[in-house]
């Protein structure tokens, strides 16, 4: 691509943000009891693993981690469904009564989050759902906000924010494309 790219965060910066989010999650929920992390495929699922690691470093306990693929719950292709492959949803535990931390990489229109929440509700009735995102770029089209934000990045609609992962699914950097 010939477009302009600005690096907003590097790997170390992302790691610091995830560590802070882990602390905030523990503080808000007073520990790890009943907490589960669910990442939205694909970026959010990798970040959920990162946050879970940090939580176990801080608190010692293991937090259940799941992943949700929202392809089957989308609303942005009425009539025309996407024709790509569907990713796997892996939530090998009940969400009944759990405090779900939903994790995504970039929060934008909010429609992905809406779809993910619909998907989660099909797995039982969680006690609450909190939203953690690495980047909040604004331009919401639904009444949705994040509880934990790595960084707020004001953007224009023409720009694109991407979190890049390496081949072992570790976050490398966040880039803004114009």
């Amino acid at each position: 691509m010939s477009s302009d790219k600005t690096v907003l965060m590097d790997g170390a910066g992302i790691k610091r943000a995830l560590t802070r989010i882990a602390h905030e999650v523990l503080e808000r929920n007073k520990g790890v009891s009943d907490i589960v992390l669910i990442g939205i495929r694909s970026g959010g699922a990798f970040l959920a693993d990162g946050i879970a690691q940090q939580i176990s470093v801080i608190e010692g306990g293991e937090v259940p981690v799941g992943a949700v693929d929202i392809t089957l719950y989308r609303d942005d292709c009425s009539g025309q469904l996407p024709h790509q492959a569907v990713g796997k949803t892996e939530i090998p535990f009940s969400l009944e009564g759990k405090k779900v931390i939903l994790v995504d990489d970039v929060l934008y229109t909010g429609r992905t989050i809406r779809a993910a929440m619909d998907a989660l509700m099909d797995f039982g009735r969680p006690r609450c759902i909190q939203l953690a995102v690495l980047i909040d770029r604004g331009h919401r089209e639904l009444p949705i906000r994040a509880d934990f934000v790595g960084r707020n990045v004001p953007t224009s609609l023409k720009e694109n924010v991407q979190v890049i992962f390496d081949e072992t699914n570790q976050p490398l950097e966040v880039v803004l494309e114009k």
Partner: protein, 311 residues
């Protein structure tokens, strides 16, 4: 990323290796829905699916109906014994009448090979073949391949023995088309009257002179039903003789690899093509096939709805 661009799924012959891999991978992802407490996703909400069955079917029709319902589509079943076809309506007229009710997908089973191509030219909705005469049965071929992939993690390099009435078997034809595209080698055995001439030209297909030759070191043994309704009485002397030469039993199953799986598209004639002990034995993956059928059909319904209209 691979995209599925077909409006209809009529034969695996029409699909590329990538198309087939995409359908199998989508089915693998959708399988999880069938194990939830709430077995439903909203994906095909507002879509109407008509299951039009001109031939008897339990598994396939139920499986397509459940698949549609789990994706939130509205499914309607028409079996010809209770429809206007018994009053003499032609396929073409039935289709045009159904079309006036604006379905999004018609899933059809028909006794005439190729009838789906005829129908696809007449209608603007998607057509999925649930079996046409002795031509193809793509959903069965796909679910068979998914089952083999579950067992071995791959299809490339597998030795698959298919035994029985190959000539009249749309299941065999779909499997041969799909498996050879995905790199498996297929070995066929059956009475000479039930082996179609020229079948070895379809790719990596070997016609064996005996059942034992086909079974030797097979990873997968697929037994076919003797289709008494399709072949008449002339092709084999009697069921007992057929069973002796082409039936799977605890002795000849040992020729296959020790952990080979045994498959059958159903319904089974116990004691004819398979002895009861092999149907219920540890190597039998027959019920796994049925389980995979729902996921595969969900993937088919999903992808024909998503494909670019008008290929």
């Amino acid at each position: 990323m691979a995209e599925f661009k077909h409006k209809h799924i009529i034969a695996l012959r029409d699909l590329s290796k990538e198309d087939i891999e995409l359908l199998i991978s989508t089915a693998e992802s959708m399988r999880e829905i069938n194990n939830r407490d709430i077995k439903k996703v909203p994906t095909l909400r507002g879509k109407t699916i008509i299951n039009l069955f001109y031939e008897a079917s339990t598994r396939t029709r139920t499986s397509f109906e459940i698949a549609g319902k789990r994706l939130s589509a509205d499914t309607v079943n028409i079996t010809t014994s209770s429809s206007s076809a018994t009053k003499g309506e032609t396929l073409s007229d039935t289709a045009l009448n159904l079309l006036a009710m604006k379905p999004d997908i018609i899933v059809m089973r028909h006794s005439v090979s190729g009838s789906h191509y005829f129908l696809a030219n007449k209608v603007n909705c998607s057509i999925i073949n649930a079996g046409d005469g002795a031509h193809e049965h793509p959903s069965q071929g796909l679910l068979d391949m998914l089952t083999m992939k579950d067992r071995y993690g791959r299809l490339d390099g597998l030795k698959v023995a298919i035994v029985g009435d190959i000539t009249h078997s749309r299941v065999a034809r779909s499997n041969i088309q799909g498996l050879t595209k995905l790199g498996s080698s297929v070995f066929l055995a059956g009475p000479p009257t039930m082996l179609p001439p020229g079948v070895e030209k379809l790719g990596n297909v070997t016609v064996c002179s005996s059942m034992n030759e086909a079974l030797q070191d097979a990873d997968v043994v697929m037994m076919l039903r003797i289709q008494q309704e399709r072949q008449g009485k002339t092709l084999m002397p009697n069921a007992r003789e057929y069973s002796r030469y082409f039936g799977l039993n605890p002795n000849n199953i040992k020729l296959a690899k020790p952990n080979a799986i045994v498959m059958h598209p159903g319904p089974i004639n116990r004691g004819v093509e398979m002895s009861s002990s092999t149907v219920d034995g540890e190597q039998s993956w027959i019920l796994k096939q049925v389980e995979n059928g729902v996921a595969v059909r969900m993937a088919m319904l999903y992808h024909v709805c998503g494909g670019e209209m008008g290929e």
